[in-house]
C-alpha cells in the first residue's frame, strides 16, 4: 500500500498570521464555512503544528514574529508544505521596507506555493492548497530546515533533537 497517496486525502492545515492586517485570515476562515466547505476535501484547521501538513502563512514577517514562525515550522513533522497567502506573505506587500518588517515569508522558511491577492480570495486559497497537495505527495520525509534563521539540530544517539532549533537568531543578511 502506498501511504503517500493518502497525504492528498487528509491535509490538515495550520494557519499562522505573521503580522498582517487579518484580511487574508478572514478569507481563510471563510473557506471553512458552508459556502466553500474545504472539509469536503478532508481538510481540518487544526491549530496545532504537530498534527498538521500544510502551513498557511499570512502577513509579512515582522521582527517580533520571525522566531515564532520558524519555531512553529520546525515543530511540523515532515512531509510538510508552506503556502504563503496574500501579497504581504509573498513579498512584504505594502509593509515592505518598513523598519519593523522583514519582507516575505520566504526570507525565513522555504515556501512551496505563493498565493497572490490583497486579500486573497477563497477560491485562490483553495487553488493554492490543491497545488500544494501535489507538491506534498512528491515530498520525502527528510528533515527540512528554515532558510536563514536556524541552529544546526543536535544529533544524539541516532536521534535528532530539534528542540531548540530557533534558539539563536542570526542577524538578517543584508
Amino acid at each position: 500500500m502506498n501511504l503517500a497517496s493518502y497525504r492528498k486525502k487528509s491535509p490538515w492545515i495550520l494557519h499562522y498570521n505573521a503580522g498582517g492586517c487579518n484580511g487574508c485570515d478572514i478569507e481563510i476562515l471563510a473557506c471553512l464555512g458552508p459556502k466553500y466547505d474545504i472539509e469536503r476535501f478532508g481538510m481540518i484547521n487544526t491549530g496545532n503544528p504537530k498534527q498538521s501538513d500544510i502551513l498557511l502563512v499570512t502577513g509579512p514577517v515582522t521582527k517580533r514574529s520571525r522566531e515564532r514562525l520558524v519555531e512553529i515550522y520546525a515543530q511540523m513533522p515532515e512531509p510538510k508544505v508552506v503556502v504563503s497567502c496574500g501579497a504581504c506573505a509573498c513579498t512584504g506587500g505594502v509593509f515592505r521596507g518598513m523598519y519593523n518588517c522583514e519582507g516575505g515569508v520566504d526570507q525565513y522558511i522555504p515556501v512551496d506555493v505563493y498565493v497572490c491577492g490583497c486579500g486573497t480570495r477563497p477560491e485562490q486559497i483553495i487553488d493554492g492548497v490543491v497545488q500544494a497537495l501535489g507538491i506534498l505527495e512528491q515530498k520525502t520525509k527528510a528533515m527540512e530546515v528554515s532558510v536563514r534563521l536556524q541552529k544546526e539540530p543536535l544529533k544524539e544517539e541516532g536521534q535528532i533533537n530539534r528542540r531548540n532549533i530557533a534558539d539563536q537568531i542570526k542577524p538578517a543578511l543584508s
Partner: protein, 279 residues
C-alpha cells in the same frame, strides 16, 4: 458459542466501527450546517496519512502513556462487551482516562496541562452519575454484570427513563461534545491533552476517541435489555441527539459544566435510583 462470537467480533472490530461512526458523524454534522462534508472513510484516510508522517515526540514517557491509553481503553471496552461487572468497567475506563491525564501532565506544556486539568474535572462530572446508573441497573436486574442487562427480558428503559436522560446528559462530557467539550476545546486549548502527540503517536489518541464512541453507544444499548431493535433505535436516537446538541450549543466553562452535571444529571440519576429501590 454464538453468544461469545458476537462480542469477540465486536471487540476486534471496535476501532473500525468507531471510525465509521466518526466518519458518519462528520458528514451528519456538515449536513446540519448545510455543508457537504468529508467522505465517509475520511477518518481512515487521516489514519493512514498520520502513519506516514515523520516521527517526533516530546519525550518517550509521554508517547508511551498515549499508546497505553488506547490499549487500556480497548481493554475496558472488551470487559464491557463481554458482559463484565459494570463497576469494574467504570473503574477500568477511569484507569484509561488516568493514563491520558498523566500523559497530559507529563510534559511541561501549558495547553497539555490545561487539558489534563479539565479532563480530571470532567471525571468528577460524569463518574458519580455513571456509578449511580450502574447501581440502579443492579437494583433492577439483581446483578452488576453487564450481561445481566443485555439478557434482561424487558427493556431497562421503561423502568429507568430518568437514568437514561442522565446518561444522555453526561455522554457529551465523555465524548467531548459541545456544550461540555471543555476538555478538548479546540479553540481554547487546541485539543487539550492530545496537543503534544504527533504522527503515529497521535494515532493512538485519535483511535482511542473512536473506541470511546463504541463504549458510549454500548452504554446506551444497555438500556434496551435484550430488545435489539429498540437498542439500535436508542443508539440512532442518541447519535442524532448528540450531533444536534453539538451543533446547536455553545461551550460552557468547566464550573458551569460541573454545576449542571452534579445538580441536574446527578439528581436525575439519584431519583431514578430511589424509584428503583422503592418499587
Amino acid at each position: 458459542m454464538n453468544d461469545l462470537l458476537i462480542p469477540v467480533l465486536l471487540i476486534l472490530l471496535a476501532p473500525l466501527i468507531g471510525g465509521l461512526v466518526y466518519g458518519f458523524e462528520r458528514i451528519i454534522k456538515a449536513r446540519m450546517q448545510r455543508r457537504i462534508g468529508p467522505p465517509l472513510l475520511q477518518p481512515f484516510y487521516d489514519f493512514l496519512k498520520l502513519a506516514d508522517k515523520r516521527k517526533m515526540i516530546v519525550h518517550s514517557a509521554h508517547a508511551f502513556l498515549g499508546i497505553m491509553h488506547f490499549v487500556s481503553l480497548w481493554f475496558a471496552l472488551a470487559v464491557l462487551l463481554l458482559g463484565g461487572d459494570l463497576i469494574l468497567v467504570i473503574f477500568l475506563h477511569l484507569l484509561s482516562t488516568s493514563l491520558i491525564i498523566l500523559a497530559g501532565y507529563s510534559t511541561r506544556s501549558i495547553f497539555s496541562h490545561l487539558g489534563a486539568n479539565r479532563t480530571a474535572i470532567s471525571i468528577l462530572a460524569y463518574e458519580p452519575v455513571l456509578i449511580i446508573i450502574a447501581v440502579s441497573i443492579f437494583m433492577l436486574t439483581g446483578s452488576f454484570d453487564a450481561s445481566a442487562a443485555f439478557n434482561w427480558d424487558q427493556p431497562l428503559l421503561y423502568k429507568m427513563p430518568l437514568a437514561f436522560i442522565a446518561l444522555l446528559l453526561v455522554l457529551p462530557i465523555k465524548l467531548k461534545k459541545s456544550p461540555f467539550d471543555v476538555a478538548e476545546a479546540h479553540q481554547e486549548v487546541t485539543g487539550g491533552v492530545e496537543i503534544e502527540f504527533s504522527g503515529i503517536f497521535f494515532e493512538a489518541v485519535y483511535t482511542a476517541k473512536w473506541l470511546d464512541y463504541v463504549f458510549c453507544y454500548t452504554l446506551v444499548f444497555l438500556f434496551a435489555g435484550n430488545n435489539i431493535l429498540l437498542g439500535i433505535g436508542l443508539m440512532v436516537f442518541t447519535f442524532f441527539y448528540l450531533n444536534a446538541l453539538d451543533n446547536s450549543s455553545a461551550r460552557v466553562n468547566y464550573k458551569q459544566m460541573l454545576r449542571f452535571s452534579l445538580t441536574v444529571s446527578f439528581s436525575l440519576a439519584f431519583i431514578n435510583l430511589l424509584i428503583n429501590i422503592f418499587t
